[in-house]
Symmetry: C2
Subunit: 407 residues, 2 copies
DNA sequence: CCACTAAGTAAATAGCTCGAACATAGTATT
DNA sequence: AATACTATGTTCGAGCTATTTACTTAGTGG
């Protein structure tokens, strides 16, 4: 369904203005302290155009002026910065075991956050719960005097491009859920951009978009938790996410790593998730759903069967990372999710496998940097907030995320 | 290297004009017979803007007017068509065993083609050979009275984004080759767009871009030949190709399918290419490099060891397709390359595996269509020509492919 | 104190799209 | 056959945006 007509973007004259305004805003956001002259040379615009663009962004409260830079022989330019005090963004993640909420400044700085245990229930009940928690977050003093730009929700399952529907979340037991529509009644006065996306994709977006300075041209986020998923964000201006028609892109948990291996809940055999995932580790070590996996394993990390299981899972993750490197070839890989807290018993085999097998194809050229997020609690929620920001800056024309058709 | 500055596209006023012109041209190319009114409604432009845009495209010889359409109650609109007689595009592929050349009309129709056996030699000698063959093709009567728009070359190895360098072609024995620079002296008078890209990516681009009517939102091309590679093209206007930083995206031949399996020439074990590729089939059946694989196997298709080898290879391909489905989730998959000529002994296991395992994740919703190209001889070369066309239409601003900085 | 250089601003100019009125080509109606 | 009707395509002036050019401003170095 959705758009059978192909959206051919042809430009209104106003569109050009917005394009230039948002380009200026992006540049300052990415490189704080740029001057008007810097922008003019980099964006190939004239000083006059940049001047008027900056002026309107200053008036709207998106930018603010800073100090004079030191002169390079002539009049020194005035530094421009993102105005980080005027707006805020809401991001939320419905995880399999926790609800996580953040309110962010445009820079990505977390103003207020909250997380609480969660046991999967119906979409309706979850919406009510999340709605209440968000209401509380909104009323906190850190954000109450700011203007809200919208809300992004990250969910543990595929969300197809152009639709605000969670197709399937096996670990929640959900199917074809219009989550934003369920959530809206609980936050009736919240205006702005409303969007939802897959958890790993939101995280990937945020990790790339909220970085300042030199940014990699693409970034792959691998989320290793109860299930295992990934998201790839590409491009500097407003990164594009690869979603796939059904939103299945990045469902690496169900790629086959071991032909003829164990049966997966998806029905196939030897899926990556049967080797590396929260549920497969629980299954092979006999840890109940009710107990927290990390806490349950923490005192047992020296036991031989635990070590062996974690090492095997780690190696499988390393293989998975290598395969991703050869199919997506991101400029940077970020590894997050609750399993990263298992520590080196699990991570070391993964990293070692990846490092040693990675560069055999191209020789000893540059390596793909791999970063492990130490605390990934709010990464996805913050990423969803970042998607809201990108939407707010670039307007609904950008195909960055999926807005809900809220009436 | 290349661009350390992030190319922030901010719009010149002229840019807007070109944007609208090329959007109009794309729409007519995709849906032949559109009227000005159709364009106006679909592109959200006014009749006046479309009118002037069409007029200038008519004058430049890109479009031509057709018949009046039947009236729907009022004045009938005049059909517009791509002018297929004025321009032509050159595409070439350096394969491991053949050189393939085409000259295409803007519609993708092949005007003239040529292929000849090739034995890998130095880049310089290959450039000379290809240059000569192209010269001959250009002088053929079908194209000699048309205007050339440029040349695209498809190569069997990774080409990184933004660089016109073939990083590595294991099956040719090449490394870090600036092929366009080598080719240029042999075609000094050939102006227009010069670009090069990976063979599977060119093919993917062409298969998506040259289609008319309703087009899938993304397309994955899997090229199974001496090696095995893939390319993913996305988007309707001018499709984007996923390349990855080092151009390794789609190097699925070196994803690990069988941990601890056979050693691959890349140094790792159990790569997909050890299970399904021209060279692995040759190795396991003892067929010499000098003989054509397809011809050598044709009379032996009933032999048990051949059947078993091909069935195993087919199943591995099916697994690979499934993994691609779960990492890239394209709207359509096209399977090409010389191995498709091995027929059902090889293809059936692949298709069956893919069909039966595909839809376990989302239930019985829509299936991803998989098409096998019967004759894929010129698919990559034609795809490279398509990349040239896209470049010519959208201008160098589009990040569609990699132009060489020819002086 | 004065040239010099580069950043930012102001006013005039050029160019594109838009809106509204108008001409055009068929069809349905009388 | 003449006329009303409807939707397509065109023309022309208005509005808006980016550019050009000239000018002001803020530091540096002699």
């Amino acid at each position: 369904m959705s758009t059978s007509y192909q959206h051919q973007k042809a430009g209104d004259l106003n569109f050009l203005k917005h394009l230039n305004r948002s380009a200026i805003l992006e540049m300052v956001r990415r490189v704080p302290g740029l001057t008007r002259a810097d922008i003019a040379t980099q964006a190939q615009l004239t000083k006059a155009t940049v001047g008027s663009g900056v002026q309107s962004l200053l008036q709207q409260g998106w930018l603010k002026e800073g100090d004079l830079q030191k002169s390079s022989g002539g009049r020194p330019g005035r530094a421009l910065h993102l105005n980080d005090d005027r707006h805020y963004l809401l991001g939320a993640e419905v995880g399999v075991h926790r609800l996580r909420l953040v309110a962010c400044a445009p820079s990505g700085r977390v103003l207020a956050s909250h997380h609480e245990p969660y046991t999967p229930s119906t979409p309706e009940a979850t919406a009510a719960l999340l709605g209440g928690a968000l209401q509380q977050l909104i009323s906190s003093p850190e954000v109450s005097n700011r203007e809200n730009l919208g809300l992004g929700v990250a969910l543990p399952g595929p969300v197809a491009t152009g639709e605000a529907i969670l197709r399937r979340a096996p670990n929640l037991g959900w199917r074809d859920v219009h989550f934003l529509e369920l959530l809206h009644p609980h936050l009736p006065e919240l205006k702005g951009v409303w969007l939802m996306d897959n958890e790993a994709k939101s995280a990937a977006f945020g990790e790339l978009y909220l970085r300042t300075g030199k940014t990699p041209e693409s970034l792959l986020y691998v989320s290793a938790g109860t299930g295992i998923g990934s998201g790839m964000a590409e491009g500097s201006h407003s990164p594009l996410l690869t979603r796939g028609v059904q939103g299945l892109a990045g469902e690496i948990g169900h790629t086959i790593l071991q032909p003829g291996g164990l049966y997966c809940h998806c029905g196939n055999r030897g899926c990556a998730e049967t080797l590396v995932s929260g549920w497969s580790i629980r299954a092979s070590l006999g840890i109940d759903e009710k107990n927290d996996l990390i806490q349950a394993l923490a005192p047992r990390l020296q036991e031989p069967d635990v070590t062996r299981t974690l090492r095997r899972a780690g190696e499988a993750l390393g293989m998975l990372l290598l395969n991703l490197h050869h199919t997506q070839n991101p400029a940077e890989i970020v590894l997050g999710g609750s399993l990263t807290q298992l520590g080196s018993t699990f991570l070391e085999p993964a990293l070692t496998y990846f490092e040693t097998h990675q560069q055999r194809l191209l020789g000893t050229t540059q390596r793909v940097p791999l970063r492990v997020v130490e605390d990934s609690t709010f990464v996805a929620a913050r990423g969803a907030a970042a998607q809201v920001l990108a939407r707010a800056i670039h307007g609904p024309s950008s195909q960055t995320a999926h807005q809900s058709p809220i009436p």
